[in-house]
Amino acid sequence: MTVAPWTDAGTAWVVDTGVFVACGRAGNQKYAGLRRFALDREMAFVIPRRVYEELGGVPSGSTPAGVPVAQAIEAGWTRLADELDYTDGTVATVMDTVQSVIAQSSQRPEDDIEKTDAALAGVAVQLLNRPGVSDVCVVTTDHDAREGVTIALNTQGLGGRATTIDGFEFVDGLF
């Protein structure tokens, strides 16, 4: 199989909002580490569109206001995920599962759960459907989102092609 050029030898990396925020809070060298992580592997991180939207419109002076995600996209080491296709049954199902898992663990109605958490799983499925993508790695600082994505993909038989990573540990390991 020819691997997609923006993947890490076939592995697509999906990154959540909190990872960018955690990089910013840890100091500018972590952004450099994040960029280097992508460049060393000649790949681009994929972010759901909702993540991109969350990182916009932040109050100036806050950490996320300094997150250069637009520049990262322009520079090519981060890319926006495709629009989510809700007519794809697997995409819709994994998103529902993530919302359900988070609603249960946080004791909230499912309607109150942010769609961005669910989008991580939806984007992961869409990436797995693309030619040249063998597996997917989702990095998030949200404990419940990570659990939800893991369960949702396992339930669809995709667990063997998906890994979830604790975003704080990932950022700690950047240099």
Binding site: T17, D142, D144
Partner: protein, 198 residues
């Protein structure tokens, strides 16, 4: 502060003292460092908090007057210690217990852009409420976005504030014996009450 005796005057004086501490991040930093590392000297505070010596003298004097620091003047170099604050305020049914972690968070606003902005834009009450969500979030009992949404601030900014408090809690657990009293009551109906446990 010592454990309670039947002394209403002391309770009111304590309330006023803690209010002052919550209003002045520099005093909050001096109190927090003394609680964490005490007994400390003025030299220690100057070195650790990067304070001018005159400021460190003035602040320790203020905090002793407020009853928040104890001064041991039995030796030539005075040493300061602090006891963990535990102050429960109830107003028309809304309850909050101030513990050293909230004081530490106020102190952190002097050096953390996100916490400074949170208080500047939304007030001390929002910082205190954020802490009640940060505790279950840091323990993995509340989703990052669910917690951030409760703060009613821009999502990524809310996540940044929660991550700041998560780091803070990792430190304050060592010297705040009341940290477990700071937690949002999460019930199965989906509503959350950010008052602390009574």
């Amino acid at each position: 502060m010592a454990t309670s005796t039947d002394d209403p005057a002391r309770a009111v004086d304590g309330l006023v003292s803690v209010a002052r501490l919550l209003d002045e991040p520099r005093l909050a930093r001096v109190y927090t460092h003394t609680l964490r590392a005490g007994p400390v000297t003025v030299d220690d505070l100057v070195a650790e908090l990067d304070l001018p010596r005159t400021t460190a003298y003035a602040d320790t004097g203020t905090l002793v007057d407020l009853g928040l620091l104890d001064r041991d003047d039995s030796q030539k170099t005075h040493r300061f210690t602090a006891e963990p604050i535990h102050l429960t305020a109830t107003l028309d049914g809304d309850t909050y217990t101030v513990t050293p972690t909230l004081v530490a968070a106020v102190g952190q606003t002097a050096t953390d852009d996100d916490l400074e902005l949170l208080v500047e834009r939304h007030g001390l009450g929002t910082l205190a409420a954020a802490l009640t969500y940060a505790v279950p979030y840091a323990e993995g009992r509340l989703s990052e976005r669910v917690a951030a949404r409760e703060l009613d601030v821009q999502m990524a900014f809310g996540i940044a504030a929660l991550q700041a408090l998560r780091s803070l809690l990792a430190e304050t657990r060592a010297f705040d014996p009341y940290v477990d009293e700071i937690t949002a009551r999460i019930d199965s109906s989906g509503s959350t009450d950010s008052s602390t446990e009574p």
